[in-house]
């Protein structure tokens, strides 16, 4: 445990010196405040509190931004050590590869969590300042924060797996951007096309909800929208949100980080220094 904490501390320092912490916190706060300011218009007509609406907008933000930040932080983790030549030495120390990965993950997840708490905290604070009923949306904000951390952990793990498989930082960067595009953009477009072509048939009713649960980004969106009362704010998946029990999407959000880290560890164990 001391070893993991020491590794995490060193990695956290590197994160601060590479300006990753500043960039992540700045980016999250900027987007969160812009979204909560922009989304403050229609609250009266919807009859829900300001914070619930903000959470719905923040969910859409998280789906894009959290995986991207997680992948950008993690793609260099193994490939960078291989390229710098620092990996063989640390592997002769009495630490397991799982501990090495855990140290990195702890630091990266810490940076991501700080950024999320700062961004969502600012948005929440703004909502509370402008609307006395905002407390109704507080559980949704907490759910959003926790599930965003889980989403970040998932993509950190996938990023480490990519990093270990690619062996070179340049290759890993390309794969990471590719994964981001597929998971959060193209996957949904493909599903949309399939649903339109199917025209309400068996695919839409039986397979479509499962395909949403299989993608960590979609499961995250599904969980936050179906758990909160503001589904109306996100028309895209609202139908599916109704069709899938909250427990399932919660389970997918919770299981993906474990799956991603198992994948990362398997890939890392195959790396010969």
């Amino acid at each position: 445990m001391t070893a993991i904490l020491a590794l995490a501390l060193a990695e956290f320092r590197i994160g601060i010196r590479n300006r990753w912490l500043a960039i992540a916190v700045g980016l999250m706060m900027l987007f969160a405040l812009v979204l909560s300011a922009a989304g403050s218009g229609p609250t009266g007509s919807l009859g829900v509190d300001r914070l619930s609406v903000t959470v719905a907008s923040l969910t859409s933000l998280s789906v894009y931004l959290v995986p991207l930040m997680a992948l950008l932080m993690s793609f260099d983790a193994v490939a960078g050590e291989v390229e710098r030549g620092t990996l063989p030495l640390i592997l002769t120390y009495p630490v397991s590869r799982a501990q090495l990965l855990a140290g990195k993950a702890l630091a990266h997840l810490g940076i991501l969590t700080l950024a999320l708490v700062a961004g969502f905290g600012a948005a929440g604070g703004l909502a509370f300042a402008l609307d006395g009923q905002a407390a109704q949306g507080l559980p949704a904000l907490i759910r959003l924060t926790l599930s965003s951390v889980a989403l970040g952990a998932t993509f950190l793990g996938l990023g480490y797996a990519i990093s270990a498989r690619a062996r070179r930082p340049s290759g890993a960067a390309g794969l990471a951007i590719g994964l981001w595009l597929v998971a959060v953009v193209l996957y949904d477009l493909g599903l949309l096309a399939a649903v339109v072509a199917d025209n309400g048939g068996a695919f839409t009713l039986q397979v479509f909800p499962l395909t949403l649960l299989a993608n960590p980004a979609d499961a995250f969106r599904l969980y936050n929208l179906s758990a909160s009362q503001a589904t109306a704010a996100a028309a895209g998946v609202s139908a599916a949100a109704g069709a899938v029990p909250v427990l399932w999407s919660a389970l997918s959000v919770a299981l993906w980080p474990a799956l991603a880290f198992a994948l990362a560890l398997i890939s890392f164990r195959k790396v010969l220094p």
């Binding site: 060193a10 002769t92 220094p273």
Partner: protein, 294 residues
């Protein structure tokens, strides 16, 4: 035995990187691993450290399989590298914590390798020699019983090299075994107990410097400086000698050295000076590494 290799074999895609290598290192012994580039030195070290698997033979490190007793083994890789954003002290503190030692020793360790003043600067600003010293500092953590040092003195100036070998002397006096590879043959000659020469993945020679010199049976060179104007006369007396400028060079087997010296001494005032030059370590090294059709 701290380290024991028996018939160690490693194949990379059909080519044998190591072929039946057998030797061992006793506690407190300093063994130098010599060989041309690609002879298998780094591969052998990585196998001993448990970083890469091997195909045949047995390896015992501190009585266990390679990689099983990492607590007692220290490693200095060739061209050692660290994350440029960390300071020397932070890097050593990390290594101390991972070895389960108190991190506050970091400053002392850096002082031992002469880096006390640069401890709070980032490693990205260090020269190659300074990075090498950080590498040495981490290899000293926690009283290792076996040190594996891959080209430890590359990038060090002559004074730092001397300090480094003084550190090694201290460690081996405490009972630590040292296996190091080097291209600087003269310093290896003076500072190690035994030499192991690899060539094309095979062990071609091992033993003390004197033993190898004897085994190689290379000729001794007698360099005769003639007295003024006696060059031509001396050449007729020593017909086997080769004229190199003013001097005469006579090569002879080691066992005929005294006979030849007596002949030269008998020439009396015609000779101004005689130098006896034994085969250098370079000569012995290339003799062994060229054998077996290399």
């Amino acid at each position: 035995m701290t380290l024991k290799l028996q018939k160690l074999t490693k194949t990379y895609g059909g080519a044998k990187a190591l072929d039946g290598v057998t030797f061992s290192v006793a506690p407190g012994e300093r063994v130098a691993l010599l060989g041309h580039n690609g002879a298998g030195k780094s591969t052998l070290m990585k196998i001993v450290l448990g970083l890469i698997p091997f195909d045949g033979g047995t390896v015992s490190v501190l009585g266990a399989a390679p990689g099983a007793s990492r607590q007692g083994v220290a490693y200095l890789p060739e061209n050692v590298a660290f994350h440029p954003a960390l300071t020397g002290e932070e890097q050593i503190r990390l290594f101390l914590s991972v070895r389960g030692e108190p991190p506050r020793q970091a400053r002392d360790l850096l002082a031992r390798v002469g880096l006390h003043d640069a401890a709070s600067r980032r490693i990205g600003t260090y020269s190659k020699g300074m990075r090498q010293r950080v590498g040495l500092a981490q290899a000293l953590i926690g009283h290792p019983r076996l040190l594996i040092l891959d080209e430890p003195t590359s990038g060090l100036d002559p004074v730092s090299r001397r300090d480094f070998y003084a550190l090694l002397d201290g460690l081996s006096a405490e009972g630590a075994s040292i296996l190091l590879s080097s291209h600087a043959l003269t310093e290896v000659e003076a500072r190690t107990d035994r030499i192991v020469i690899l060539s094309g993945g095979r062990l071609v020679a091992q033993g003390s410097m004197e033993g190898l010199r004897h085994e190689a049976g290379l000729p001794v060179a007698l360099v005769v400086t003639p007295a003024t104007g006696q060059g031509g006369c001396l050449a007729t007396h020593l017909p086997q000698a080769e004229r190199v400028g003013e001097k005469l060079v006579l090569s002879c087997p080691a066992n005929q050295k005294l006979t030849n010296l007596a002949r030269i001494a008998a020439l009396g005032p015609k000779v101004a000076d005689v130098d006896v030059i034994p085969p250098s370590l370079e000569d012995i090294y290339s003799h062994f590494s060229k054998r077996d059709g290399q």
